[in-house]
Symmetry: C2
């Protein structure tokens, strides 16, 4: 390794092969941890210095948890692992020929084995106004911004009587998958329970949540009875579910669908993800075609074809099962793939043949607000309602990184459950009050007023 | 009340006198709560929708707690109090003649009685570069920005070997009062304990904390033996204490004092506060002179002279004790004054004579990092060291708003204490990653590099 001033590499380089893992999500962290004790030097790299518990992002966005509850410093996850280090860097380029990765800042690092675990990004698709006017929900800042915006709308309307009946408080969630359903359900509960208590002028129908999906069913990956239950539960919670409805444009005033215009002060874009653009970078360099959703094609042993030193795991990986189908982009898949790759790397060191990855599917689950959930478990066992919600809560609390986070999230949920409340509804951002807070407030007020006046609504 | 579209006032106005309290800090919240059951309409107004536990801000800045741990929605503090409501608004002007307050956004509201409880702001004084280059520590965004910046410096140096011995990681804390001392001690512990564990290249002397004060003693409000102990404890923790030293200028590279230039990548401005500018607004309107520190002069009954309908409490109030001295700007003073004003308002309604405020001084306390503190209690009882730290922790945990926050902060402290760790060291801001995060990183890198090259250091 060079000792150049800009260098991602460690100055305590060893003779052991260096495994670089890009991405500290579920797959990357699992791979790094599973290499504990292996005769390699592990370097885990991520653009954030924290690991986030992605399945609970919607809880931050809807004021049920704070960002501190679902994040953890990456270095804490590697503590006590002598062969692993973490570097915070945003990787901008990968050169598979030179076996080198490049950070945005210009630093670079070579690898003997690379594990690409960069996950997925919001799929903005090519619809007018989505990127400008819809809130994504894929990162911690996304969730904080959405929470701040939603709460800000209520605060602004609290001082402006005319805004209260103008759809400015309504929200449209686009996308009927788990993120969309969980967010729509929790937003509706936030509006109908907590906001009703906070603001004396808020009634159950003051702020309407719409859930729009172009498919004929919500939660398409679940069996029909659970899909039906999901829809029923959402409607019971006051969510207006619009199926078979395509979004044509998003503007400051709301969402234009093929069925009409839905006015709303908040639009959440939960209509899918695509693989991180680094998949394309690698595919271009190697002249291979991307799999569906922009994923990097890998063999059943999870490395890029003919590149046994370049693995991909999790949402960025175009891995296929025995039947040739792509695996779903779920946390358990990423975790198992991370472990598998760690195992393969250790086999490689002993010159053993690669083994194919097999997903041990224990099932999947989601919540529909407080008290309700769906669970589709291994062996065809299905749950819905309170039981599914309890299973979900149990699984998610026990999977949170760190005992402290588990205890705190558990306390929060018990508290929220018993009091029907959301304690995390503080509008907190990192903009100093005396400097630039004003423009953002002005922008929101302008937006609300244009809604109120019905301007430029097509 | 008018029904104009922009109105701060409640549409459910009653015939009862309206008490408007501006500021939801310790004094304002106490006043509002102490009016529970009184035959008045209470309207509490603050620019934030949360109450913050100010004495623990430095814990956020040094990654010991997250912002969610020390904040609480204001409305939760008024829950169950039928005669009180909260409005989130930034008050820009007060007209004591018309008995009306004006929000920045243009909304306004009349009052029968006004309680000014807006606290204090950072006193930037007239020193070159302070406002541009030093971090204040008075609000939640201040604390988050300081935390993010400090952690960012380490992450950047982690990828840039040349920056590691360039003073870029050093910090100067200006001000030897409680905020300065607590911040300097915790920063030094963060550097020497947690950062040493996180980064293999960090040694105890990699990052130096300097504490600069122009006085001859730290913690000037405490007895000499505790001041001496404070200095000794700080030095034991590796803090370089520079007394009798005045700051002449602050720049990107550090602090120019009358004793030389102290290079540092982080400068914290904890050199005092002054009353919120609304004190001046009111004083101008009534043609009275401000008291020291920009405070609004009030009678011993805590109202503005000859204005029995205009009270001030807490840090903004220029209240004096029997001896004619201004009260210290401390949380217990604000709380007791809030309660006193609530009591006076109820006496006013019954046409009783005003009573003077008397501060029941139970003492004061501060921490000097983990395990050490000073406490100067009523009756001349003094503690220092672990005992004072334990008293401090007990008092602060029990005073936190909300059982949930108490439990969580307690858990955090026990955890941090046992593991010698700071779990909240995530660099989280509200800027979406894909939009504007880059410039901020670039700015910090530029700053660090200019430090490294020793540019423009006088």
């Amino acid at each position: 390794m060079t000792g150049s001033p800009l260098s991602l590499s460690s100055e305590t380089a060893t003779d052991r092969p260096r495994v670089v893992i890009v991405g500290a999500g579920f797959g990357g962290v699992e791979a790094a941890q599973a290499l504990k004790g292996a005769p390699v030097e592990v370097m885990l790299v991520d653009r954030n210095n924290y690991h986030k518990f992605q399945p609970l992002l919607y809880q931050i966005a809807t004021a049920g948890l704070t960002s501190g509850n679902v994040t953890m410093p990456v270095r804490d996850l590697l503590r006590g692992q002598d062969n692993a280090r973490f570097r915070r860097a945003t990787i901008a380029d990968i050169d598979p020929e030179a076996q080198r990765i490049y950070a945005k800042a210009g630093a670079s690092m070579t690898y003997d084995v690379l594990v690409l675990a960069v996950g997925a990004v919001t799929n903005y698709v090519d619809i007018e106004g989505v990127q400008e006017h819809a809130f994504p929900l894929k990162d911690i800042p996304d969730a904080l911004n959405l929470r701040n915006h939603v709460l800000e709308c209520f605060e602004t309307a609290d001082c402006n009587v005319a805004l209260r009946n103008s759809c400015a408080l309504d929200a449209v969630v686009v996308g009927g998958g788990p993120t969309g359903v969980e967010t729509a359900a929790m937003l509706s509960e936030l509006f109908r329970q907590t906001m009703c208590r906070d603001f004396e002028w808020v009634e159950p129908d003051t702020a309407q949540v719409h859930l729009v999906d172009r498919g004929s069913d919500l939660m398409a990956a679940y069996p029909p009875s659970l899909r039906e239950y999901t829809r029923h539960s959402l409607e019971q919670r006051g969510v207006d579910v619009q199926l078979n409805t395509s979004v044509e444009a998003v503007s400051e005033e709301g969402v234009q669908t093929d069925d009409g215009f839905v006015r709303a002060g908040t639009v959440v874009w939960a209509a899918g993800v695509r693989a991180h653009p680094l998949a394309e970078t690698v595919a271009d360099a190697l002249d291979v075609d991307l799999a569906r959703g922009g994923r990097l094609p890998v063999t059943r042993a999870l490395h890029v074809p003919d590149r046994p030193s370049l693995y991909a795991v999790g949402d960025v990986a175009g891995a296929r099962n025995e039947g040739g189908s792509l695996y779903p982009q779920l946390a358990p898949v990423a975790i198992q793939q991370g472990a598998h790759v760690a195992h393969q790397i250790q086999r490689q060191l002993r010159d053993r043949e690669p083994e194919p990855f097999r997903y041990r599917d224990l099932g999947k689950m989601a919540t529909i607000g407080r008290n309700a959930g769906i669970a589709d478990l291994a062996g065809g066992i299905q749950f819905k309602g309170v039981v599914a919600w309890l299973i979900w809560a149990l699984v998610h609390v026990t999977k949170l990184p760190g005992l402290r986070n588990r205890l705190i999230a558990f306390l929060n949920w018990v508290y929220n459950y018993l009091t029907d409340d959301r304690k995390a509804r503080m509008i907190v951002d990192t903009i100093p009050m005396h400097r630039t807070a004003e423009p953002s407030v002005r922008r929101i007020r302008r937006k609300l007023q244009s809604l109120e006046n019905g301007e430029s609504v097509s």
